[in-house]
């Protein structure tokens, strides 16, 4: 018998002296079932937390302002609110209402539905249906609401109708412009509404 075989025999003889009770199979099966159940509950909790975190991250990314990429054409969504208002100002607008300092309409009845203002790349053209008013306009961002608007009237045709004096007088007081409910408003220095415009 080799030393290794002898060692095995000694270990066997030693082990045989150990009294072993019956295996608690049912207890082990029950305990394993509980462990598996706890593991499943843990997995569900972890997955739920993961979904909540991922949802939060998705919302955060959605609300995050997107940075412009160098060299990429800027789309409309990249423009600031002021730039949107500037570009939205371009075009021809009907003058729906013209308000005097008293707060009452000063639009002559004969001009209703006939007066329009066209803003085109710095050039302003007012059409009363009888005479044309020409001038320039400029905008710049305002610290608060809307845009600061500067109107400079340079000429007016002198047809015999001569009913546009209130319009010319009121346009001279315009200092700001805002947009609300699809209408553009022109405001005086004290933010009183001077004119209400509607895009043609």
């Amino acid at each position: 018998m080799t030393n290794n075989e002898h060692l095995s025999e000694l270990l066997e003889r030693t082990a045989e002296r150990v009294n072993v009770g019956p295996p608690p199979v049912d207890a082990m099966i029950g305990a394993a079932a509980r462990v598996r159940r706890r593991a499943r509950v843990g997995t569900v909790i972890v997955m739920s937390l993961l979904l909540i975190v991922l949802g939060g991250v998705a919302f955060a990314i959605r609300d995050m302002p997107s940075a412009p990429i160098a060299g990429e054409d800027r789309s409309v969504t990249d423009l600031t609110d002021s730039q949107v208002e500037i570009s939205a100002m371009e075009g021809t607008w009907d003058v729906v209402a013209l308000v005097g300092e008293s707060g009452k309409s000063v639009m002559p009845p004969e001009l209703h539905g006939k007066v329009s203002l066209t803003f085109d790349d710095g050039a302003l053209v007012g059409d009363t249906g009888c005479n044309l008013i020409r001038g320039t306009y400029g905008t710049e961002p305002n610290d608060g609401e809307g845009l600061r608007l500067t109107l400079e009237l340079s000429s007016i045709t002198r047809a015999a109708c001569a009913v546009e004096a209130p319009l010319v007088e009121r346009l001279g007081t315009v200092r700001y412009t805002t947009v609300s409910d699809g209408h553009r408003y022109l405001h005086a220095e004290n933010w009183m509404i001077v004119a209400q415009l509607r895009r043609q």
Partner: protein, 166 residues
């Protein structure tokens, strides 16, 4: 056959041997049953892995050794292996050297790694490769641990008497 049936069959066949292996690893008989029960429960939780294992016994031994190591780590203030076996209520005075006590004393002179490879090799009958897989070490490490362990046992006077050599 369901998983629980397979498990029950396996436990019925291996329970005694696994408990005795745990005793040889250094557990008291009562502690050995607890350790083996915990190890087998872990096996049942992951029974698919046991089924897929190339060598089911080697896999279970691996879980047993890990559970035993964890229990020793956790219970560092608990029972410690000792070379002095406490007196039993009914000691066998008629035998000069009790085989069991002598073997357990000899095993306790090995460090834990050496004791584990001796038990796995000469009681579990695992090959060196199986032991390497079980312990998660290289085959060379198993060989060196086994070699050192056998050298310690060869110099052990208690075992020498059992072998009939002075």
């Amino acid at each position: 056959m369901s998983r629980n049936d397979e498990f029950s069959e396996y436990v019925a066949a291996r329970w005694s041997r696994l408990v005795r292996a745990a005793v040889l690893l250094g557990c008291s008989p009562a502690e050995a049953e607890d350790v083996v029960q915990a190890a087998l429960m872990r096996c049942l939780v992951h029974w698919r892995k046991v089924e897929r294992a190339d060598d089911r016994d080697a896999y279970v031994h691996r879980i047993l050794v890990n559970t035993f190591t964890s229990s020793r780590r956790r219970r560092w203030t608990g029972e410690q292996a000792t070379s002095h076996v406490p007196e039993t209520p009914s000691p066998d005075h008629t035998v000069a050297i009790d085989t069991t006590d002598a073997v357990l004393r000899s095993l306790s002179r090995l460090n834990r790694d050496q004791r584990t490879v001796v038990v796995l090799r000469y009681y579990g009958y695992l090959s060196e490769q199986q032991m390497a897989d079980t312990l998660g070490v290289a085959t060379g490490t198993v060989k060196s641990r086994l070699s050192r362990a056998l050298k310690v046992l060869a110099d052990d006077s208690d075992l020498a008497e059992l072998r009939g050599t002075p």
